[in-house]
Symmetry: C2
Subunit: 491 residues, 2 copies
């Protein structure tokens, strides 16, 4: 066998084992008996240790060294690129540092949860200080003299840099702040109220998932505390949750997760269980979940269909027309929490975190100054004061578990979704007529054909450029948001 064949055989097994670890994560959130938590964490640790050993196996380095990519076709080159990336990254981080990070972040996550419950920032800072120091050491090892934060972003979004993100976000921030202020000063749409049966929510949520092309023969829907999508290829599972007074949370988190899941289900079968057999990056992944959820799911056309479905299931629930329902679905609310934010404000939450975490990683902000910096920035962008830490710098789990460089991919996904949506509207001129009938086939088919099926074949920005036919920028997203919310709020 050639070095390439050996490498691919090994990589396929590693991909399969990675899927197993993912399934274990799914089980933990959905099926695992409560008392199994400690045992499970040992099982997960053994899986991670084994996977890390495979990713850094010296054999992989030898095979890579023996391969001339020029002799391979496009797919082979992409496989080698992905394997090489993972090998280089894993090999650059000293084993004892990786172990130390795993230990400290495991502890930090527990302390974060406790500090958040106690509204006690000071109790969390010492361990966050350790996490930041360890992650900076990791970043230095990865950057090898380059920019520490860029090295971290690269883990989630290949070839993206902090400076590029900052430039992109700088064009977005003032326009979003202005749009937010204008919307909140105008007359607000009606709020949803009433009681919505949980079983009926689950029935309708399945119907919505199917309407977006989610394949239940290769997936399943369960309830969990936090909605998520898990797995690749022929086994991609999603979770959702119900709230008696907030069925939108169930429906739109389902559509969001279906976007992630369809991306994974729709990758070309030829790449199944290989390094390019899943979504290519966090940003591109988020572009799919967001375009399903927002540009399609919260459009006037599709929300009109949802209104009819909800009337069928729940009867009259106090909203008199599809037009008013559309405004309610897109209502801009005061609030502190990123995960509950509407389309206008969501990116402001992300940019705040991006600037702070970048400064932390580059040594421009100390952990002790984090809370003040958060609260100042929040006041500046949102116009009111953070009332308690759980609504401020303690609201997200990310930093406690060492996820630095991850936050900006949320907004990058929105930016990519803006580009894709503009191209989709040109490719499918009668899209609204279809969406109004609950038919997403043309839209999701276009996304599958233009982007999803490629998996990791092309680098993130390349696949968005190919699919949208434009150089990715924030402009399409901003134009879409301004047009949409000026319409809704009569600005």
């Amino acid at each position: 066998m050639s070095a390439f064949e050996n490498l691919m055989g090994f990589a396929r097994d590693t991909a399969a084992l990675g899927q197993v670890a993912g399934r274990l994560g799914w089980d933990q959130e959905t099926m695992m008996p409560r008392g199994a938590a400690d045992q499970r964490s040992e099982e997960m640790a053994a899986m991670e240790k084994m996977l890390h050993a495979r990713r850094t196996d010296p054999k992989v380095g030898e095979w890579l060294a023996a391969i001339d990519p020029a002799t391979l076709d496009e797919v082979g080159q992409a496989q080698v690129r992905e394997i090489s990336r993972a090998f280089d990254r894993a090999s650059k981080v000293p084993a004892d540092l990786a172990v130390e990070i795993a230990k400290v972040t495991s502890r930090a996550q527990g302390q974060w949860a406790q500090a958040r419950a106690d509204e006690d920032v000071a109790a969390f800072l010492p361990v966050l200080e350790q996490v930041v120091a360890l992650k900076r050491r990791e970043g230095e090892a990865l950057a090898a003299g380059g920019n520490v934060y860029d090295a971290m972003v690269d883990d989630y979004e290949q070839n993206m840099t902090g400076a590029e993100l900052a430039a992109m976000f700088d064009t977005m921030r003032p326009r979003l702040v202005a749009l937010r202020e204008a919307a909140l000063a105008a007359e607000a749409p009606q709020k949803l109220s009433g009681h919505f049966d949980a079983d009926k929510q689950m029935q309708l949520t399945e119907k919505l998932a199917l309407a977006f092309g989610y394949d239940l023969n290769h997936g399943r829907i369960d309830k969990a505390v936090h909605p998520f999508s898990s797995g690749s290829g022929h086994d991609v599972r999603i979770t959702t949750r119900t709230s008696d007074h907030d069925p939108f949370n169930c429906f739109y988190s389902t559509i969001h997760e279906v976007g992630h899941a369809c991306y994974e289900q729709n990758v070309d079968d030829a790449y199944l269980l290989t390094p390019i057999g899943g979504g290519v990056s966090m940003g591109v992944h988020e572009s799919q979940s967001r375009i399903y959820e927002n540009q399609l799911g919260r459009s006037a056309a599709f929300s009109g269909w949802v209104y009819g479905q909800m009337r069928d299931v729940f009867g009259d629930f106090g909203i008199a027309s599809a037009e008013e329902f559309y405004r309610t679905v897109n209502r801009v609310n005061d609030g502190y929490i990123r995960t509950e934010a509407d389309e206008v404000q969501y990116n402001l939450h992300v940019m705040l975190r991006f600037d702070l975490e970048r400064a932390l990683m580059l040594g421009d902000l100390s952990v002790n100054d984090l809370e003040a910096a958060w609260n100042d920035r929040f006041k500046a962008d949102f116009g009111y004061v953070v009332d308690k830490p759980s609504n401020g710098c303690l609201q997200d789990v990310h930093w406690s578990v060492g996820l630095f460089g991850y936050f900006p991919t949320y907004s990058l996904g929105n930016v990519y979704a803006g580009c894709l949506h503009q191209a989709l509207r040109q490719a499918v001129p009668d899209l609204d007529a279809q969406l109004a009938a609950g038919d997403t086939a043309a839209a999701t088919g276009w996304l599958k054909e233009s982007l999803q099926r490629h998996g990791g074949l092309y680098a993130p920005r390349d696949v968005v450029r190919r699919a949208s036919g434009m150089e990715p920028s924030a402009e399409p997203l901003l134009e879409y948001l301004e047009a949409k919310f000026k319409g809704i709020y009569g600005l």
Copy 2:
């Protein structure tokens, strides 16, 4: 770190990874989307390949060679014994033979299922011929000049031999044949009839599981096509099934699986995720499932309590008294199928398979003569003729997947259960009064304390000898069966 510490660290991870593979098997039978089957088989194959590589890792051999067991305590010696056993067995089988067996048995299982559906023995024989030839080669590699069949039995029941089993079964067969004939000649108990709601069966089955001490904080109950127990330690899950007309199938298969599951849940926490952290052998495992199901679950005392529970849940279901219910639960029926057999006939089914598979492995029976040999033996022991292959030599999956040496452990489990039951009755004189109130705590507590908590600390026969205080033999089982069924049938 010492060689022993290194070995144990590696073995703990291997045990944890083995648990993950088991959980994947559970998922496959309960939760997996239908369309994920092909991908799953690749994932399972990658897990098995990785686990096999760990079991035969040369490092394990080096550590074992560097350890002097005399320097270890009893627990350490047991750990080394188990690791050494697995290492020796896995190392003796050439890798290409192991791969060939995996491939052929995977194909053979599909062909068996098709042949059984078609009632076509001839269609199954060519692949069975291959399986038998490959397993004999494996047995020769394992036996290294010794008895091929003994080497196979040893995989499931350490230190047991075909000759010892044959001697044991020879004492059982004539007495069971005689008991069977007498029972079937006597007046039969009433049969259960009627319709039993599936949801209510599941409610009562959970109550029964809890009554036998199954810990739902470390387990869960789901439906599956075939009932099974899966996992060790703090995550031991069982499955059951419902049939509208046969609630006993649900209730007694649950109690059976609870016996297996409690054995795994009750192993000393100090052995969690180590080579001795689970049940010690198939035979001892089956002794637990059988004593829960039969000696306890089908006793007059406990079945009286079940009768009351069923009346509460289902109302009047046509059986007038607890006494008649006890006779119904233990009814000896004509039939062909091992898994549906009562206590009297079950071991006759097993012995038939034991004699045939032993002859196949020792070269005393050819695959082409298997069906005739089966049918002759069945006629001799059961008194009537096999009507079709799915009721005869095609009924069990075992041989198609290469399980030779496994069948006798079912009856060995019954024999062990007989010994344990005799000792339990002496240890808990008022057992029937407790069982009549649905209280199994004294019985299951005694089993936990005497046997289950030890996990793999003692060899199979040793732990039964210690717990029962006697040299294991078939006599207690035979005396129990004869007394019980002579009572039920007024013989």
